[in-house]
Point group: C2
Chain length 351, copies 2
């Protein structure tokens, strides 16, 4: 009974981008944790390791030797999930057994020649070079492929098997599930409200200031109202921008700056190189370049696994896999510094 | 080029229950793995530990003392994500900031008084008692709640913090995302094809025999054609059954038997107590008991995280979170014993 308090009372929140719901049970963060603890990331990573296939001068799985690269370095993934020339599956003989062609390319992009760096430790000029390389890949692969997924898995907890700072780019002949979903929801929003969903959302969040992590003249980062992962964030331009390649010079510089600020906050939170998977979503490309994509707004999702400390993660398991995502504290609670006694060292709000 | 071979050539497969796709890149299983390895489960779990809150006679977080139970034992979760009496969230002031009420109850159910057992190590009569307790909970909580989610998180890798054999039951005042999704897809299938989707699917799989893991007179278990997790399975009745509580005496006995056979296969696969999250989906309850639910077919999903061995899991991370689930070998490949050299000890097919 009594008055509703989001920080005390369970409720569901609607995710308009995915057209689904998250169960928010703030009081649950009080429970003790005796389950699995994760290994913290290695303290000492050698700057250069001739046996690390991502290093300059090292030999890769296919026998090729990397150049002595000095900035970013892009090469084909040696174990690609997508290849340009797979034959078409046979026609399905039954509607419950449907296969479809899937073609594409998978690339790896090193951010920097040194293995002991991460994005927040790089200079603004170096981060800017990464952004330019992303935009170039998005343009080149997007000339023919409908979807170019740029993503970074950071940390062993996120399945990343190499500490060298890098991301991946998988371009595909099809729109993946998440792309189709966001295409539909953004299209419906524009047609119903006359303004792109994430442009309206950024304006609202800039005004409300409750979930704002960092902002500058061109960008803002929020813990979205509907975040499922505890420290999930959404990076949004203030201007209507469809694709990475549409960013102006100034917007690329300010993007480097806001990314660095966000990632430093993340690292400071639990005083650990913060694991996450992140990636860019923008308007589809290839044949869609000819279509009206005004419902799309460029954005990046950051999905970090940690919940309580550098070694205790949120498990999205039974209930989450079978029923609905569930979170143990509200996005707003994360904003206050030292919000809770049990291991929440810092908030995302300030420091 | 050349002729299409599912075991060689990447393709996408359609999941009719979730109306989405999985990218199948069978050739990728050949890549080496130098990433995170998981801790195997503890070898020695004491049969009785007075400090384990799930044991008979132990004291729980709320100060209550467990009875000396001898079969299953059900008690309220001491840190529930859902409570029966949370106040309603205020009306939303904006369509992008929508909250909804979420009420319910969370229960824990111990399968057995001994901590050193798991379901496959229990007798058929003991497993049958678990099934009866599930059906009773589904009936009682389903009298008022629209959705009763029964699920088991098994193993530390699946966020389970207690080795004592147990599952959870979360009943909610709302249909969770997955329930709404499966309700829609099954409804559409019945109206288009005149037969419940999973009844038609079971008949097809029983005939095709390509992905059949175990079967008996009432049940079958398949690695679904559209499986996303490497060793994911789907447990299906052969008869049209809407809910757990509709199972006959005979079907409950044969369910105990097929569960035991499936779980022994899982444990044998990598010679480890196999981690997974599993759970039951059936027709909604509460107010939906009055509705036509013939499109529903009762089923259980098993989602195991392992990929290559007892210590190497599949990471559903960057591409999977941002674009689309991806798997590294086909469901059909799993059926052959010793299908691949790198750590695939056994197939699910036989032994
Ligand atoms: O309820 P438990 O076992 O403490 O917790 C586990 O299962 C829950 C339901 O899937 C998850 O929300 C938790 O993240 C997980 O650690
Ligand atoms: O490509 P990597 O880094 O070898 O692999 C990692 O990222 C991929 C894309 O998200 C996932 O499919 C793999 O499970 C994960 O281990």
């Amino acid at each position: 009974g009594g008055r509703f308090l989001a920080s005390e009372h369970q409720h569901a929140r609607y995710n308009p981008l995915r057209d689904d719901w998250v169960l928010v049970s703030a009081h649950r963060v009080k429970r003790p944790w005796q389950g699995q603890v994760e290994k913290p990331p290695p303290e000492e990573v050698p700057r250069w390791d001739p046996n690390n296939p991502l290093c300059p001068g090292a030999t890769r799985a296919n026998g090729e030797v990397n150049p002595q690269y000095e900035g970013t370095f892009i090469f084909p993934n040696d174990f690609p999930a997508l290849q340009p020339d797979a034959p078409e599956p046979d026609d399905s003989d039954h509607p419950l057994f449907r296969a479809a062609p899937a073609r594409g390319v998978c690339k790896v992009m090193c951010f920097h020649p040194w293995s002991d760096l991460t994005l927040p430790l790089m200079s603004l000029a170096e981060i800017r070079a990464v952004i330019d390389a992303w935009a170039e890949l998005a343009t080149n692969l997007g000339a023919s492929y409908p979807w170019v997924q740029i993503f970074e898995n950071k940390g062993a907890m996120m399945g990343c098997s190499n500490p060298h700072p890098h991301c991946q780019v998988w371009a595909s002949s099809f729109l993946p599930n998440e792309a189709r979903l966001e295409d539909r929801t953004q299209r419906e929003h524009l047609s119903q409200r006359g303004v792109p969903m994430l442009l309206e959302y950024a304006e609202q969040e800039a005004r409300r200031k409750e979930r704002l992590v960092v902002e500058n003249v061109d960008w803002l980062v929020v813990v979205p109202y509907w975040a499922t992962w505890p420290y999930q964030t959404l990076l949004l331009p203030r201007r209507h921008v469809c694709r990475l390649q549409d960013l102006s010079e100034g917007e690329r510089d300010s993007l480097a700056s806001i990314m660095k600020r966000l990632l430093i906050k993340y690292d400071n939170l639990f005083e650990v190189s913060f694991p996450y998977s992140m990636g860019w979503h923008g308007a589809p490309t290839g044949p869609h370049l000819e279509e009206d994509c005004r419902h799309w707004q460029l954005h990046a999702h950051y999905y970090p696994p940690l919940l309580r400390s550098a070694t205790v993660r949120k498990f999205m398991v039974g209930y989450e896999m079978l029923a609905q995502a569930q979170r143990d504290l509200t996005p707003e609670q994360l904003m206050a510094a030292r919000p809770l006694a049990h291991g929440y060292v810092l908030g995302l709000g300030d420091r």
